[in-house]
């Protein structure tokens, strides 16, 4: 069955315009960021000789893929697995938003669709859990803003419709596909103004911190080992 004109618009023109909008806003955002002068470290190197600014920056950037590197993830692997599933889900849903309009044949294989649905479904469940945690945990409540709740809820709902849209079968009803693409468009426009834009800052933040702590011999962190006290 042919897709409707509305679905074609939502999956093509609307996405393209939204992407261009996001790119423009992000460019302005980066310009804004670069207007702040970067601090310079004049000191000669300290600490271990087997590290340095470059190694520190590389370690810092890869930090999030190494759950053993930080005590906060090492002692809370459940959180790290959630994080991984959630972000894999985001990647899968974004990929889906390109595959459906531009490479629909990829989704003709049921196995491919299942893989997408499994990852996006897992991310949906994590999203639900995180929403509950943000509402119920007093520490999380104290630091949460309306944007935090809304962004998380938006992504969770987006996952839900992405999972339903994955088979890309308008003949079974265009509702999930329309919802997915309209949500994606909204998401692209909203993201630069919300906490979700953190991925734009991430490389800069990790680079600067890693460069500095590498220069000072702190990164890579030499982790504590629990001594055996017999």
């Amino acid at each position: 069955m042919q897709e409707s004109a509305l679905l074609h618009f939502a999956s093509h023109r609307l996405q393209e315009v939204s992407l261009i909008f996001m790119a423009v806003v992000y460019s302005v955002r980066l310009y804004w960021l670069m207007r702040f002068k970067a601090a310079r470290d004049r000191q000669p190197r300290t600490g271990r000789l087997d590290t340095g600014p470059l190694k520190g920056a590389a370690y810092s950037l890869a930090n999030i893929a190494m759950p053993w590197a930080m005590e906060s993830t090492r002692t809370n692997l459940f959180y790290w697995v959630q994080f991984a599933l959630f972000h894999i889900g985001v990647t899968a849903a974004i990929t889906l938003s390109f595959l459906i309009p531009y490479a629909p044949q990829t989704l003709e294989s049921p196995v491919v669709v299942w893989i997408f649905q499994i990852f996006i479904g897992a991310a949906f469940l994590v999203g639900c859990y995180r929403l509950g945690r943000r509402i119920l945990n007093p520490y999380m409540r104290a630091i949460s803003t309306p944007d935090d709740y809304f962004s998380l809820a938006l992504l969770t709902v987006w996952f839900f419709f992405a999972g339903l849209a994955a088979p890309n079968d308008p003949s079974s009803g265009e509702g999930p596909l329309l919802a997915f693409f309209f949500l994606t468009a909204f998401f692209l426009i909203y993201v630069p103004f919300s906490k979700i834009s953190h991925y734009l800052y991430y490389p800069f933040m990790r680079f600067y911190l890693g460069r500095s702590l590498g220069h000072r011999g702190v990164y890579p962190i030499r982790r504590s080992v629990m001594p055996n006290r017999g």
Binding site: M34, R48, N76, I221
Partner: protein, 581 residues
Amino acid sequence: MNPAAQTRSHKAQKVIERLHKKLNRQMALSLAGCVHCGLCTNSCHYVLANPGDPTYAPAYKADQIRKIFKRHIDWTGRVFPWWVKAKSIFTDEELEELKDIAFGKCTNCRRCTINCPMGVDFATVNRMTRGLLVSVGIMPEGVAVVSKDQWEIGNQMGVLKEEYLDTLQWMDEELQEELGLSHSLIPIDKKGARIMYTINPREVKYDPRTIADAAKIFTLAGEDWTMPSEGWDMTNFGLFSGDDDLGGTVAKRVYDKAEELGVQKVVISECGHGYRSTRCEGPNWAGKDIGFEMESSVLTMLRYIREGKIRVDKSRNNVPVTFHDSCNNARSCGLYEEPRELLQLVCTEFREMYPNRAENYCCTGGGGAMSMSEYTPRRLKSAKIKADQLRATGAKIVVTSCHNCVDGLTDLIRHYNLGIEVKQLVNLVASALVVPEKIEVVAPRPVHSLKGFRILIVDDEPDTRTYLSTILEDAEATTLQAADGLKGIEQARKEKPDLITLDLSMPGLDGGDVFVRLREDPETAAIPICIVTGRPELRRLIYDKPHRPPEGYLDKPVSEETFLKNVRKILELGRKEPKSA
């Protein structure tokens, strides 16, 4: 309420204006990039000791300054402030609340920073917040008093110069008696000394024994060292108060004195924030590139033992010892392996505490907390985490390389009845020292005198040979001359000079070949060589060779000052005494 419609206090207005000026890219990122994931929460000792109180969570504390940033600088918060909890600041009472958080609920230990998946450096943001508050006169009284002392008297404990010099003299006399010597062992303002030793004023006020211990170690190591009469305080309250001007001024006092005395190295006694301030942050605050080395006394002591300059007997420290990593040393300067190596050399039973190194918990006295008595109950409550950590080791002594930590740990050990003694590495090294029967003390030598040194000048230009030999002989050195490479090699073999200055472009055997032959000949291989050439592009003749590079490399024309400075540096780097001496 519309911010424009609400009256803002003068101080609040200034804080907002200065926030714009103080932000750099790293800070802006830390303020804009927090995702409120909450992973930092359990990394903070205040949170762990106050379960159920989210106001201690690092992200919550950071949000108190972040909301101002969002309201005035970031995007969304300027248009829809309620959506991102952006909020301006209007009254002095609000600034007082901010003070309570920035000074009273955080020691800037940076533990949350290394546990943040985004890399938000909350400690740096908190320091900036302190600086903003201090700039409008809002700070704990203790911070004001200490800052004033450091601005006006030159050290953070208000130690007067006479008091400082008297203490040094007192320790000098005690040490002379202990070692059975009858001349001064703590040189003051000795120009041209290799090392300038800087200390924490706490050592003068409360712990002068650490000065004597350090002096004993320097003396037995045969070190050419001095203590300055000014610029001796390596601590820096600018780190705690967030006042970069104070930080730069204090650091510069040390740097200026080191330059005035012409020392090669500044050794910083055991103090976490002093080490970080002088060695790491000081050049940034002072906007100055430093031309001499700086190191922690931990490294100096370790090197003396490794090189056999001092001998130690670890059986003299035979009770179980644990080590507390200072946050500033370990988490901000990477100084955590050397103290352990040193401890293993000077005590019989070292027990690691957990967690440790960069993951260690704060002593709870950091960030200037010891000077803010209004927060003492809060500090001691949060110290339970540290107390549990210490108790678990079963150690009788906790060693730390930081004076703040000494005070913080002493206080919490007393509060929690742990019965543990607090010491510094210098104390353990001093008590383990094996004092030789004969002690050789480095005799002072005039700064520019090269008396007793013999220096061979190899150059085909008579004018250059005359110029260089005149400079050297004016500095009391003995010179030898050779007009070509072959003669130079012959003289070097025969005379074994203390140093050879070598031209590169010479007829016949060029300087590169002479260099290789000198390095390959066992009789001349150890002689330091300083290249003095009018053709610096010929450096490949030297540096492409698979030999130890020359000890110096100067371009002609070379000034008298530069030439002498380099000659002296080479001769002293090699720790040479004149062969004729």
